[in-house]
Structures are given as structure tokens and as C-alpha cells.
């Protein structure tokens, strides 16, 4: 009753000729290409170069315009110092963006944690180390809360963090009574909170511990993302969550860890911010959420997830810092600084887009 070719198992008749089929790989002649084309291709294979080049370009241009004032070791180290808080926040933001999310609450978490550490250590007599510990636990919990809403309740990250931003902001104002904690009071009761404000003088440069911390945070996260399985999973989730799930990754658990880690990094930023600002201001960094996103996108990390290097965010933050410092020293109004940053965002991402357009 069989109409098949069972015994031989050689497939249908028309498939028999396949053994003779052509095995060579197709190749086509290539047109010779111009410089721009070749540059585009070169950058395509190494996209993190883009923010690096923009950064170097920006430093060079402002060096010319604003002159020695800009180009001094002191000013350059100052820029690093100035971007360090937004830089660390951008690291936290990058983690979320790599998973195709976005976090509007990073700065709110940071400020809230600074207030918690400060209130406990300065006003409530808790040993400063425990105050800091509380802020780390709190930051992680805040991140976890975002993560739970994203993974369990399945809310889009944008909406989740739009909501929690308000929540964290209100808690911050409530806990702090909207009052800053004064530098002198911190010095007297909990000087360790200001640890990252210390600096090392190197020639004209002043490298604060906070600047070093920022670089260290990026280095550690870079390692985690690129050299561990967890990091591969984070990229896979950002790339295509469903595929990652089917490939056997516990995507929800990984996402939770990403959000928790991001909250933890915000708590690190909180500690660093006390050193940087010198006091604890509940009103500071109100725009920090969007500034961290700005750094991330200028750094070439795709808002669609899964593409880009976290180092890009560091360069992104530095680019913004260089622009602001350069424009400030060139005597440009804040007004026009804001204007320039707007165009910077658009140009940086447009260049990135142009480079990614090429097929490898």
C-alpha cells in the first residue's frame, strides 16, 4: 500500500541531482568606492568609534575656539568631574536601554537614595556606613520595583518608570522636607558620605575619586556585559526577548537582575553625588533622567535594544560635558547651550544612523 521510497530514503526523484550542485560561494565584482564610503564601512564594523571620534573632534574644536582655558589639564579634568554623576547614571540607563527599555526614574532613585543615606547618617544617628548600606539596599529595591512592574505586571518600561519617577520624587520631597542637608553637617557626622569628593592633584589636573569611580563603574559593567554569560543574555533579551526565552534564557529573571543592578548603580551615583555636590540637595538633578538618556543615545546605544557598547554612554556623557564646558567658556548663553545640545543629539544619532545603514 506504500507509495513512498521508504527503503532507500533518498528523497523525491527531482532531488537526486543535488549531489552535483554547485558548491562555490557567489561573488560579485565591487565598484571602487570613495573615501566617505570606505569611512562609512570602517565605522560600521566598529561603531563605538563614532562617539570617540566625535569626542576628539569636539575637544579639538573647542580647544581652538575657547583656547588655553578650555585646553588646560585643569579644565579637562574638571569636565570629567562634572560629568561623573550623569555619567554613572548613564551607565545605569545603558543597562536598561540595552534590554530595549528606557528608565525615566534613574535620577529620581539617585536623589532619593542620597536623601536616605543623608537623613539616616546625619540626622538620625545611624552609623554612616549603615546609612550608605541602606541607600544601596534602597536603590536595589527601587530598581527591583521597576523590574517587577516590567516583568510581572508586563508594563512597558517607559510607563513603569514614568509612574515610579513621580513616586520616588514625592518620597524624596517627603523624606527631605525639601531641605538640603548642609555640607558642614555632613562633615561633622558622616564625612564618609563625601568620600568621592576627594581628589588627587596630578599637575594641573584634579582627578576626583568620583571621576575614578565613574570609570570603574563603566569598566566593571563592560566586563559583565561582554565577558560573562549574564551579559550575553542581556544583549540577547534586548535583541529579541521571545527568541531569548525560547533559547532557554530565564528572561524575566535576567531582566529583574538588570533593573536591580541599575538601581544599585543609581545608589552608587547617589554616594558619588554627595561627594560632588558637597551637600545633599533634594532638588538637584531633576533633569538627570533625560540627561542620562541623552548621553546614552549620543553614545550610539540603540533605543531598540541589543546593540551598542556601554562604553558609548561614557563617551556620550563626555561629549555633552565637553560641549557644555566649551560653550560656557566661549561665553555662550545657557539658552544657546540648550539649543546646541538639541542639535548635538540630532546630529550624533543621525551620523550613527547613517553608519548603521551600510550592510557589513
Amino acid at each position: 500500500m506504500s507509495d513512498t521510497t521508504q527503503p532507500t530514503r533518498k528523497g523525491q526523484e527531482f532531488e537526486q541531482t543535488l549531489d552535483a550542485s554547485d558548491k562555490t560561494v557567489a561573488s560579485f565584482e565591487h565598484e571602487s568606492r570613495g573615501f566617505v564610503d570606505r569611512l562609512q564601512h570602517a565605522l560600521h564594523s566598529n561603531p563605538t568609534l563614532v562617539p570617540v571620534i566625535v569626542l576628539i573632534g569636539a575637544v579639538a574644536v573647542f580647544g581652538l575656539i575657547a583656547g588655553g582655558k578650555f585646553f588646560s589639564a585643569f579644565n579637562l579634568s574638571l569636565i570629567i568631574q562634572q560629568v561623573s554623576i550623569i555619567g554613572i547614571l548613564a551607565a545605569a540607563q545603558s543597562l536598561i536601554v540595552l534590554t530595549a527599555g528606557i528608565d525615566l526614574s534613574v535620577a529620581a532613585i539617585m536623589v532619593l537614595m542620597a536623601v536616605i543615606a543623608g537623613n539616616l547618617s546625619v540626622y538620625m544617628g545611624v552609623p554612616p556606613v549603615l546609612g550608605l548600606l541602606a541607600s544601596f539596599v534602597g536603590g536595589t529595591a527601587a530598581g527591583l520595583m521597576n523590574g517587577l512592574l516590567v516583568t510581572r505586571v508586563k508594563l512597558p518600561p517607559f510607563i513603569t518608570t514614568l509612574g515610579t519617577w513621580s513616586i520616588f520624587y514625592a518620597l524624596n520631597l517627603w523624606l527631605s522636607g525639601a531641605q538640603s542637608i548642609r555640607s558642614q553637617d555632613i562633615d561633622a557626622n558622616a564625612s564618609i558620605l563625601k568620600f568621592f569628593g576627594n581628589n588627587i592633584a596630578l599637575g594641573g589636573a584634579r582627578i576626583t575619586y568620583g571621576s575614578i569611580l565613574m570609570v570603574a563603574v563603566f569598566a566593571v559593567l563592560w566586563y559583565m556585559l561582554n565577558k560573562t554569560a549574564w551579559g550575553r543574555h542581556v544583549y540577547a533579551i534586548g535583541d529579541d526577548k521571545d527568541s531569548a526565552e525560547l533559547a532557554g534564557i530565564r528572561t524575566d529573571r535576567t531582566l529583574l537582575s538588570v533593573y536591580a543592578l541599575s538601581g544599585f548603580v543609581c545608589a552608587i551615583a547617589a554616594w558619588a553625588s554627595i561627594g560632588r555636590v558637597g551637600s545633599i540637595s533634594p532638588q538637584a538633578f531633576y533633569e538627570g533622567n533625560l540627561q542620562s538618556i541623552t548621553a546614552v543615545v549620543i553614545g550610539g546605544i540603540s533605543l531598540f535594544g541589543g546593540r551598542g557598547s556601554i562604553m558609548g554612554a561614557l563617551f556620550g556623557a563626555l561629549i555633552v560635558g565637553v560641549f557644555q564646558s566649551g560653550l560656557r567658556l566661549a561665553g555662550v548663553d545657557v539658552l544657546w547651550q540648550v539649543f546646541a545640545i538639541g542639535w548635538l543629539i540630532i546630529f550624533a544619532v543621525a551620523i550613527d544612523q547613517w553608519i548603521r545603514k551600510v550592510s557589513a
Binding site: 582655558k69 562634572q82 522636607g177 538640603s180 567658556l329
Partner: protein
């Protein structure tokens, strides 16, 4: 010019600071000083102000004029600037403590509030039937905000409890506090909200004149504009005009241009002689003065008319 000075304002979005900048620029040009100006993006933008102070140090400025966005948070960086040999003068908003800066050129904001409070009380006569709406700046409890608010209440004859807190009073005549963000839209919405609580509101304190203009619109839209006295602080030209137009009953005029030009002169003096300015006797700051502006003067409270004020407004 080889003397450089910096002016750092809270924002660029408030005409008060825009005026201040004009005043400083003019004075700087006159005195042959190079002026760099900076501003935060929004009120409370501490980090931008810190960066600005640092840039001034980097730029080798002789002195800094600053309206601190946070009267406590900026102390450390100001300390750095002073250590680096810069003269730092707070304008408009004092530091806490005031000695954080070398000098403070400011309005006595508490007094500014007190004047309009006294004027409102005297204008009403019998204040037992008063229903007071307090239109403050924002939830952040910054010093100008609570000083003016409490000053007003004290002048009006209300027990203010903690003079550094708003909203802790328990006087039954107070209908409520709401925030305005210091602009017309916020003023209008806040006024509507408080009218909702009690439509009998007859005294309206506002943090500044844009908020007062908004409050007036809200009252007018329900036909209650004649029921309430609106008082405010600032003395900006549009505000003074609003006094003339009967929108605002009285306002306490400040002198930002004076603050700025005195500041520049102080830096010049410091650069030339190393001398630092002295505080007004009995105060921990240099009082640049405040004048009550009203077209309905009352006995015992010195005031100027809106017409006189228009000649001076923010001059």
C-alpha cells in the same frame, strides 16, 4: 580688561534674572570688567550652578555673583571658589548660613512679605473676616518662598509658628496654600483650586507678580476680582503696571539691577584693593532695599505710587 567676573543666576527663564543680567553687564562694561554669565536650566538646578562656579574658577575670574538655586547645597563649591581667592557675593537669595559667601546683596525678603501683609491688613481694617489664599512657589520650600510667605502672614497678624516652614499655621483665616511655579498658568490654577475650597477668599498673597496675574485671571473668570486684595513681591515693570491697572493691590519692589551693579563694583574694589564689602548694620547681608508699591497708600506704611515705581522698576 584683565578683571573677569561671573554672574550665575538661577535660571534664564525669569525676567528678574534677565534684568539682573542686564544690570550686571552694563555695570561691567562701565567698570571695564569682563563678565561671563551662567544660569541653571530650571529653578533648583544645583549641578549646573556648581559647574558654572567651577568654570569661573577655571577661567581665573576675580569674583562671582550668584543667586543660589539651593541656599545650602552650593556651600562647598563656593568654599572652593573662595579658597581659590575669588570674591563670592550672593545676590537676591542668601546662603544658609549667610557667611558662606563673602557678602550678600539682597532684598530683605521677610520684610518684603511683611510690608504687603501690613498693607493688606490695614486696607481691610477688620481682619477677622479675612480669608487668605497663599500662592507659593513650589513644593521645595526654598528660602525666598518661606521668607515672603511667613513675612506676609506676620505682617498680616497671623501666628507663623516655624518661620522657615510654610503651611504649618493653624489660623482659621487661612484657606490654604498651593503652588504656582511662579508663572501665570500655575497662579491661575492654584487660585481656582483655593477658590474651590472656599469661594469667599478675599486676600491673596502671591510669591511673585506672574503668579498674581494668574490669580487675577482666575478671580475674574468667576467675577470675583473685586472681592479679593492681591498682594505680591518683585516690582517688575509688568507687575508695577498691574498695580496701576488695579490687578495687584500692592507689591514689594526689589532692586535686581542695584544688586548686580553693587556686586560688580564690589568685585572691582576687591580686585583693586582686596577689600570686601561690609554688611548693613544689624543684618547679615547688604540690604538693597525694598519699597512698597501701591496706589492705595495707608497710614503709617511708607509707599510709592505705581507711577513713581514705573520710573524705578527694576532700575
Amino acid at each position: 580688561a584683565d578683571t573677569t567676573a561671573c554672574l550665575i543666576t538661577k535660571t534664564d527663564t525669569n525676567p528678574f534674572f534677565v534684568k539682573m543680567k542686564e544690570g550686571a553687564s552694563a555695570a561691567a562694561a562701565e567698570n571695564g570688567i569682563d563678565l561671563n554669565t551662567f544660569a541653571g536650566k530650571i529653578d533648583g538646578d544645583v549641578e549646573t550652578q556648581i559647574a558654572a562656579v567651577e568654570s569661573c574658577i577655571a577661567a581665573g575670574a576675580k569674583g562671582i555673583l550668584i543667586t543660589p538655586s539651593d541656599s545650602r547645597a552650593l556651600a562647598p563649591v563656593v568654599g572652593q571658589a573662595r579658597d581659590a581667592g575669588l570674591l563670592v557675593i550672593a545676590l537676591d537669595t542668601p546662603f544658609e548660613p549667610a557667611e558662606t559667601a563673602d557678602a550678600t546683596f539682597a532684598t530683605d525678603n521677610f520684610l518684603a512679605g511683611e510690608l504687603i501683609g501690613q498693607w493688606a491688613a490695614a486696607t481691610m481694617g477688620d481682619t477677622s473676616e479675612a480669608k487668605i489664599a497663599l500662592l507659593d512657589l513650589n513644593p521645595s520650600q526654598i528660602s525666598v518662598d518661606y521668607l515672603r510667605d511667613n513675612g506676609f502672614l506676620q505682617g498680616f497678624g497671623v501666628d507663623i509658628k516655624d518661620p522657615t516652614k510654610m503651611g504649618d499655621e493653624d489660623d482659621a483665616r487661612i484657606v490654604g496654600n498651593d503652588v504656582t511655579n511662579g508663572n501665570e498658568e500655575g497662579g491661575r490654577t492654584a487660585m481656582e483650586n483655593l477658590l474651590q475650597k472656599d469661594s469667599g477668599v478675599n486676600v491673596v498673597y502671591t510669591i511673585n507678580e506672574p503668579a498674581a496675574a494668574g490669580a487675577y485671571e482666575a478671580l475674574k473668570s468667576v467675577g470675583l476680582e473685586d472681592q479679593a486684595l492681591i498682594v505680591s513681591v518683585d516690582g517688575g515693570c509688568p507687575g508695577v503696571q498691574n498695580v496701576a491697572d488695579g490687578v495687584i493691590g500692592a507689591t514689594s519692589m526689589q532692586f535686581p539691577l542695584l544688586m548686580a551693579s553693587k556686586g560688580i563694583e564690589a568685585i572691582k574694589a576687591y580686585a583693586e584693593t582686596g577689600e570686601k564689602p561690609q554688611n548693613t548694620d544689624g543684618l547679615d547681608f547688604v540690604n538693597t532695599g525694598v519699597e512698597l508699591v501701591t496706589d492705595a497708600p495707608v497710614e503709617g506704611i511708607p509707599s510709592i505710587t505705581s507711577e513713581e515705581a514705573l520710573g524705578k522698576c527694576w532700575g
